[in-house]
């Protein structure tokens, strides 16, 4: 246990905010494009310094990769590992069906409540389109706010294919840029720059997808309940600088508050 506490302390000490991680990734791309394309023309010493700086930034920013994939992967592993041990029951009410219909989802959406300990909050399984809520969430938040959360998740179900298509288009773009870069640079620089570009673009799309889900949920059930949920989560969390997949709660609240101000009804 003390070892775990020590690890946690180290983790907090080396914690990089989302903005810093973004700047590091952008600097990788910038370094790969500007000096990287002229790598063969640089003096040997400069080339060496450049390589060290480039690799160092890459290692530091690799944390973005873990941040990007850790939450969805842990949740999917949680479903697999603890699926049988935990109690998961279907949550279906006429109100939920009505909400799905209101949000323009033609197929039947399956909503489950689980006590799976690896699932921390509501999430949509991107592969199956099933929505999971935790027991603690349903118990803690008032019914209106649970419905607002579901509206947010239903937007992910509705826009699942659109999001996949956006990722595919962006991947094609990144591959094209890396292919052009490959003509002028060495493979390791091209690979790392491609990786950085991929994380940056996927992060942009994922955050955009969250904003879209917030807006669609607010249109379906009103922004008040969602703002209230975010305010509660913000009060509970120590850090609120957002992540590769989600904008900060402060930004999300501000956006929904703007909708509330604009909506005179």
């Amino acid at each position: 246990m003390p070892r775990l506490t020590r690890l946690k302390e180290i983790g907090e000490y080396i914690y990089l905010t989302f903005r810093i991680r973004q700047v590091l990734l952008i600097s990788i791309v910038a370094l790969a494009v500007i000096p990287g394309m002229f790598i063969f023309n640089l003096p040997r010493e400069v080339r060496l310094v450049y390589a060290y700086v480039f690799v160092a930034i890459f290692y530091i920013s690799a944390v973005s990769l873990t941040n990007f994939f850790s939450v969805p992967i842990v949740q999917l592993i949680g479903l697999g590992l603890y699926g049988r041990k935990s109690v998961t029951r279907e949550y279906s009410t006429p109100e939920i069906k009505e909400l799905a219909k209101k949000m323009g989802i033609s197929k039947a959406v399956k909503v489950y409540i689980t006590n799976n300990r690896l699932i921390r909050g509501p999430f949509t399984n991107g592969f199956t389109g099933k929505v999971y809520l935790t027991e603690a969430w349903v118990k803690r938040f008032p019914h209106k706010e649970v419905m607002a959360t579901l509206a947010h998740e239903f937007s992910h179900v509705k826009n699942g294919r659109r999001f996949s298509l956006e990722i595919a288009v962006v991947m094609a773009g990144v591959m094209l840029v890396t292919a052009i870069l490959a003509l002028h640079s060495i493979p390791v620089i091209v690979d790392i720059a491609g990786f950085a570009m991929m994380i940056l673009m996927m992060s942009f799309l994922a955050r955009n997808n969250e904003i879209r889900a917030d807006v669609e949920a607010a249109r379906a059930v009103g922004p008040e309940a969602l703002i209230s949920v975010f305010e509660q989560l913000k009060a509970d969390s120590k850090k609120d600088d957002g992540s590769e997949t989600h904008p900060s709660l402060r930004e999300r609240i501000a956006r929904l508050m703007k909708m509330l101000e604009e909506d005179k009804s």
Binding site: R140, P142, E145, I227, L260, E261
Partner: protein, 106 residues
């Protein structure tokens, strides 16, 4: 203490512990005669600004939990002959019990 566990277990205390909801309850506790939605928003705004629609949302939830009672009445407003429908809210005894029990459990 048993009461605190009761309110923690049934989720009432958790729902009241939202920063805005607790501020609303404390504001209503200061004004036993009751307050309108706009008055609550103005009172809370001294600490942190809150939109009146957010106040209404929190009041609905507090009322569902039996922590406040509200009634609609006509209030005289300058410029309006007929008056304006307002929601007057008062905190209930249950709210006081929950606050006391949260304090005790801490």
């Amino acid at each position: 203490m048993a009461l605190a566990i009761k309110f923690l277990v049934n989720g009432t205390a958790g729902k009241m512990m939202h920063p805005s909801r607790i501020a609303i309850i404390l504001s209503l506790k200061k004004h036993p005669e009751g307050l309108y939605v706009d008055q609550i928003a103005k009172d809370i705004a001294k600490q942190s600004p809150i939109h009146p629609r957010m106040v209404s949302h929190h009041l609905d939830i507090l009322e569902e939990e039996g922590l406040i009672e509200s009634s609609y009445e006509l209030a005289k407003v300058p410029g309006s002959k007929r008056g304006v429908a307002v929601r007057r809210c008062v905190s209930t005894k249950k709210a006081e019990e929950v606050i006391q029990d949260i304090k005790d459990s801490i």
